[in-house]
């Protein structure tokens, strides 16, 4: 599937621009290749892609061990904020790193909305 990053990057940029609490956002495939991203200057694209796919893979392994089949979302609470990894169309992983000022409820709602819009673009 050929995906045009040019249509997705503006969407991510707009998402970040409208919300002060979003610190990073990235879309990668399941192998960790970033398609589009808005990252802090100190972040390395390859590293971000690798941790995204690796985290997803590890979570998948763990859930299989626990008798579950499929991951829909990973939610991480850290000292500096939340990280949400959300699968889109079973092929893409969306990562959103938000600070603690954003409540989980707001964050999940935002991520869900964004993933729906991205799914539309990725399908198209």
């Amino acid at each position: 599937m050929t995906i045009s990053a040019t249509s997705i990057v503006p969407l991510l940029q707009e998402f970040c621009a409208l919300r002060n609490n979003i610190r990073a956002i990235a879309l990668s495939d399941l192998q960790g290749t970033l398609l589009a991203q808005v990252l802090p200057s100190q972040s390395d694209m390859e590293t971000v892609g690798t941790v995204m796919s690796s985290t997803w893979m590890m979570a998948q392994e763990s859930l299989l061990e626990l008798g579950r089949k499929q991951i829909k979302q990973i939610f991480i609470k850290g000292k500096q904020g939340w990280i949400v990894l959300h699968v889109i169309l079973d092929q893409w992983i969306l990562l959103v790193f938000a600070s603690h000022e954003l409540s989980p409820r707001e964050l999940f709602a935002e991520v869900q909305q964004l993933s729906n819009r991205m799914a539309g673009l990725l399908r198209g």
């Binding site: 390395d44 690798t50 985290t55 626990l66 499929q70 991951i71």
Partner: protein
Amino acid sequence: MFGKKKIKPHVLLVDNFEQVRDVAQSVLESNGYTVTAVGDVGEALKALGKKMPDLIICEAELSGIGGIGLYHRLKKYPDTARIPFIFLTAYEHRKVEKELLLQDILIPKPVKWKDFFGQIAEFVNRRTPPPAALPQAVARQQPRKKNKQAGGEPASAKHVVSSMQTKTPSSRDTLQKTAARNVPQRVELKPQEEKKKRKRRAPLAILPEGHATRNFADPTSLFQLKQIKDLFSTMLKSFKSGMACKNESVVFPSSPCNWQEIIHLALQPRETHAFYSRPQEEVLLDLEVIESMDMAEPQETTDTLSEDDKLVAELMLEEAVSSDMAEVAVKSGADEPFLQPVPSAADASAREAILPTQEAAVAVQEGRSEAPVVCEEELPAAETAQLLSDPGLLRWQAVCGDYIWQSSQAQTVWVDKDEVLSTWEKSLEREKVVEMCHTMLSMAGLCFQAFGEEFSVAYVMVRSERDHIFFTQEEENRVYGIAAATDSQASDSLGGYA
């Protein structure tokens, strides 16, 4: 006049990154090399056609046939095969090293530029001279004053230069090759101190507790993609094989460091295993049974229990008494009790005797905390009380919320005490619990580190098609927990996100 002019070794530098080319070129030129820097294989071949270099430094990941293809092509022909070759690359080292002939080397990226020239000099020095160069090599072993001739030039340089003056241009290539063989001698002129400096290791720094995981230890400044990928795959293999080792701190050298050393440290087997071979069933505390009785306050319990539950409760208590098990008192959280009191255990004096702390006993007496609980289980009472009253567990409870404990599945492991609490549907091995928690939390920590944040995670929640799985740990007390929660439970725990 010509004889007094120094011959600068010529280096062909092939790298597709302009910045790397620029820095490497300036380092080499400042150390007396002439550098031809090119960006791809085609340009490199053109440069080779114009002038044979004394040394080739090449990136492995290049367009077209790539650095490795170029390397193989050069090694096919005797004229180019003799040129010392260095791969300067971040490409998978094992793959590159497989391709390398013995005499050539790989310098991994990122490069420490201050050591870069030292590494090249050492390589060139180490390189075995071909038989044709042996006379020069023997000459080099002579005392220095004997090598000195007119113009203070080393014997080999002099030899090369004088040959250039007398021989025809057609033999120039051969002479340049001879010069290439003589590179070591010129490089050797660099002060020895530089080499010594490079060999000096950075002091080892033990990272603070809580920053070390089985495979990673605060690698904020040490990220290198290829190594991390290797570590991930190793970790995954270990995970799949079901091997769980004690999560000991890994001692990483502080930056600057050698990545191979880090990999060695990270992958070396841990000394001790976390758990004994004691079957899980022996220490199983089935909270679900107790919870399913739906027990509330002592005086109300007999009314709310069904006949079956009453029977189960009586049997449990009888068994506890007959096996002379001590009653277990549990100090639960002030707001979120996860074990409900059993009525017939309301023996204040006995409870006080086995409460884990005096403060807890006072809290119970004053009504600030929940009444202690009798649990049917086979653990020594003191240990269980300690386990259940552990701050780690309380934190775990606070993280996941009482809903999970009361009506869902959970499994918690105390690493150092060989304890397990479980209401899980299937018997999970304790090693698996620790391994899974550890893996998930490590990966989550790395996610934050990828954004330059602290390697610190409170918990990870993974949403599956059925429910939500929480992974958490209390690092200080070494308690690991996995819990499953329904959508509504997880939503409640996370402030109604769903």
